[in-house]
Symmetry: C2
Subunit: 581 residues, 2 copies
């Protein structure tokens, strides 16, 4: 053993103990006769004192050198109450430098001076910083508690294969050429969906897996080509059972890991979510829900509203004092191409009971009062109105609502508001391919009462599909699956598969359904995202030890990279265009 204790461990009770410690030099102060060094490891910081006999070697220490010291624990004269070891220090009688460090390219402090690129390149140094150490500790704790909870209610963790089969449905697959089976390829799983369903057919009843998944997508910000999923499936359940089970898990996790009591876990159907929030993942930490004021705004000469499919208003509490400049900024915000609104109407509900709006020309005080009543706006509030085509306006208003929520401090990252959204549409229209795609995936069961619409009005068929939402972020989605061969086959028909394609790609699953497949359903939660939310942060990257950048590259190990022509030969593949090599 290189050490008797860690640097987070020694207390006043240890005074007079002979100890050996190891760690990194966080900083050192040369006070002439004495040198003080803060020694750091994962567990904390301990102060070292070197006397004159040790002074030369001690003074040679640089930041991030790895050292081993032996010495005596003594009580500090001036105690540091901000750290657990702050009552003691070590008078060192032996110092061994285990490994010198070059000067790091950025400071290893909570707030570092290193830029994103540099920190990614030296990720192993960035990971030394407390915020990242804490993130990965949180991730570990969450994974341990998730497993404890699921184990306690009879879930088995069962590993499914990573080398599976490429299917055209869904996102793009990463593929792996097979050397032993020339001209054939494995695919890396986008999720273990079909395998977990087969495990239900096998009678495993309650399955979970914390599992890596892969999608070869053009990476938007904060997406990773490989990501981790808490993948779960249950047999003999209905939607309500899935809700109860995973509400239970979230409640347990919040209590265990954050000491927070989740008291409510409301449910909202998809149609309501879109109607009231313009989003299938509403942030319900704050209100500001949509008011449809078409009726109240028509035929007053304001063409914009008259010609709009919807006129939607939201109320910003106590914001009637917004200045012209602030309102212009909001208007500019919604008119950015990313949002796409043509303009924004405001109504200030003044404290004196009067109204001031950007459309005073068309609407009387009485008119505006009717709007205010419809929206539940009170004196001191600000009403903001967008109008246009329904779906687009709902979407724009969602963006505006969230933006205001941020501005007004209504989206406290340490407040947690979970929500189930259910009754998602089964299908969504894809303009590019001119056909319907499965909104969740092709194994999702339609609501039996909507089956009759499949031929006549496919866009309005609802599915037994649901999302778990936390603070406006989708952290998981799932569904009750199809377990009947005929229904599954019908579904593939509607998704544009020929019988032959369906059989070639998913025959194994449809065959399995003929041998006593139980009713089943499940959910998959995004583990990276869950960790970030528990950490009170929005981006997942710093909750992953070795993430990739937006180009899908690991800049630390410089991957991906060319491979040798021998490797290509063995795999029986050629590079199509070679000049870039």
């Amino acid at each position: 053993m290189y050490r008797t204790h860690t640097n987070g461990e020694l207390r006043i009770e240890n005074v007079n103990n002979e100890v050996t410690l190891c760690g990194w030099v966080q900083k050192s102060r040369d006070l002439g006769a004495m040198t003080f060094v803060d020694l750091r490891d994962r567990y904390g910081i301990t102060q070292l004192v070197f006397g004159e006999d040790q002074s030369e070697l001690a003074k040679s220490l640089g930041r991030e050198d790895v050292i081993q010291v032996s010495g005596n624990v003594i009580e500090r004269e001036s105690k540091n109450t901000t750290i657990p070891t702050g009552e003691i220090e070590i008078t060192v009688n032996k110092l061994t430098i285990l490994n010198k460090s070059k000067v790091p390219p950025f400071t290893i402090e909570d707030e570092t001076d290193g830029g994103e690129e540099l920190r990614m390149q030296y990720r192993y140094l960035d990971l030394r910083r407390n915020p990242l150490q804490n993130n990965l500790k949180l991730r570990h704790q969450l994974s341990i508690e998730i497993r404890k909870y699921l184990d306690s209610i009879n879930f088995f963790e069962i590993e499914t294969p990573y080398l599976i089969k490429s299917t055209p449905e869904g996102a793009r697959d990463f593929v792996v050429p097979s050397r032993m089976n020339p001209n054939q390829f494995y695919a890396l799983p986008q999720s273990p969906q079909t395998f977990k369903q087969l495990l239900m057919v096998s009678g495993f009843d309650r399955y979970y897996q914390i599992v890596r998944c892969f999608r070869d997508e053009d990476l938007r910000a904060d997406r990773q080509p490989e990501f981790t999923q808490i993948d779960c499936e249950m047999a003999f359940v209905e939607q309500e059972d899935v809700f109860n089970t995973f509400e239970g898990m979230m409640t347990y996790l919040f209590k265990k890991v954050k000491g927070i009591d989740l008291t409510e876990f409301p449910r909202m159907d998809y149609a309501t979510a879109i109607e009231k929030y313009g989003s299938d993942k509403p942030d319900i930490r704050f209100g500001m829900t949509f008011n449809y004021i078409n009726e109240e705004t028509q035929n007053k000469g304001f063409n914009v509203f008259d010609q709009s499919e919807v006129v939607i208003a939201i109320v910003a509490k106590d914001c009637s004092t917004y200045t012209r400049k602030e309102l212009d900024k909001l208007t500019d915000f919604v008119r950015r191409p990313q949002v796409g609104a043509k303009g924004m109407v405001y109504v200030k509900c003044n404290e004196d009971g009067t109204f001031k709006s950007s459309v005073d020309k068309f609407y009387s005080q009485e008119d505006l009062k009717i709007w205010a009543n419809k929206c539940g706006a009170e004196a001191g509030d600000l009403i903001l109105v967008l109008s246009g085509d329904k779906a687009a306006t709902q979407n724009q208003m969602n963006v505006l609502r969230l933006h205001l929520g941020d501005e007004l401090g209504l989206r406290n990252p340490n407040e947690y508001a979970p929500l189930w959204v259910y009754d998602f549409p089964l299908l969504e229209w894809d303009e590019e391919t001119k056909r319907y795609h499965a909104m969740h995936h092709p194994f999702t069961s339609p609501k039996p009462e909507d089956m009759k619409l499949l031929d006549t009005d496919p866009g309005n068929v609802r599915a037994n599909a649901y999302d778990m939402v936390l603070n406006g972020v989708e952290i998981g989605g799932g569904s009750i699956r199809i377990h009947d061969r005929e229904v599954q086959s019908t579904m593939f028909d509607h998704l544009g598969f020929t019988k032959e394609e369906a059989q070639a790609q998913f025959g194994f699953l449809m065959n399995a359904f003929e041998y006593g497949a139980p009713p089943h359903g499940g959910i998959a939660l995004g583990f990276d995202r869950l960790c970030a939310l528990f950490g009170g942060q929005e981006t997942i990257r710093d909750f992953i030890a070795f993430p990739k950048n937006n180009g899908g590259r690991d800049v630390m190990i410089d991957s991906p990279s060319p491979i040798s022509s021998e490797q290509l030969d063995e795999l029986n593949i050629d590079l199509k265009v070679k000049e870039e090599l």
Copy 2:
């Protein structure tokens, strides 16, 4: 909820309860007025009784149909003491068939009539059988307990990337073409070796991960292209610390999962293991260690021994009664090409104190007595002797010893004898490439006292490398790593890397060593193998939910498979030889 209870849950206390159960029809017996059905799920079997009113539907039930029944718990007249639910049965008043089953291609019984190929194709049905259900349950339990133990001693589970970089060292990589980085490839990890070392540089101190690894090797029996590893690393440790930590883990697992107290965990250096057992993974559940009887056998006119580098004898206790036929079978066994011995000499130590040997022509009773004394053989024992070149003979004798151990019932799968083998050679000579390779991997530290031999006698440099062995099976291996840039660079020199190659492939690691890398070491345990050993079995396949066959194929999903030309185009690759498509 489809059910109120599982099929393993109801007891005599539940009599008169109204219950709803779900499960699979295990078997049914039609007794005219009454029909009895055994209903199965993961938790057990419950007997159902259908009266005359239900009889028509009940009689229509076939094996593996999935049903839901409601009824009343009653006490059985004739109790079944072999199952926990054997005191009760359910009088059914409502039967719902949830899904019919075709007749399965093999019986879902502990002993099935299905062949290997058929069971692999219908793996989801094979997994319904108790032995496989129990195997995967054991695997789940082991993973839960491993995590509990490692968490309790401050290990963090940290996920490392699956899309990494291809390196020529070691086994062959599976590669993944990158669409976003044309002509470049990721590789799937053969192990997270460099990442876990970087985590030590980051100060994580104690890391583990139960992680999938990939090797594109020609598959020998019982190898899988993807396999699961318990991957561990610790900083500020010496070999002894690693031994203590993972002895602790194994002791905990045996106690928790099997109720067995592991009392001993002996250690043996590599040289001794080879000398006494002819193997670096000796099965020490039984003795029968090697005796070198060169001296005792020379110059008696028996050329075979006179010309041999070594003459090795083992003693089979109480086997002097072996018949000529049995001895011939043993001789045939060692002469098979897989073993490769030229012949075998035996000496029967008769009960009357005389000796009978196959080389009586050359050796007197007195000579044979000297052999017996040297080997510790007693009256009633059988001495078996092989001779030839040292390494080959040790290897042949190892095979013979294990074979005899099996024959004599000395290798009880329910007895567990763990062992550390340490001081492995650093390098091994590769005839094909005519150079030394790292025996463990290039990051293994040489023993400091042997460093001087690196130039003069590289084959005799010992490493700080060790294996954990259980019942003659290597279940894990590890080492104390190099943490110094210069030593690592020297190592790459000796392994035939140019400076440029070393920097291109492992520059990130060597650079990391310059920023305060702590001394560190670790181990990786084969989780599939560990599960099989805990299950008292030799093959890993039935401890993996969805294994691949020896051709690397998943015959259930029919993977790998061709991919579309669009996919190839997007990835900028071509098939070199296309006719097989």
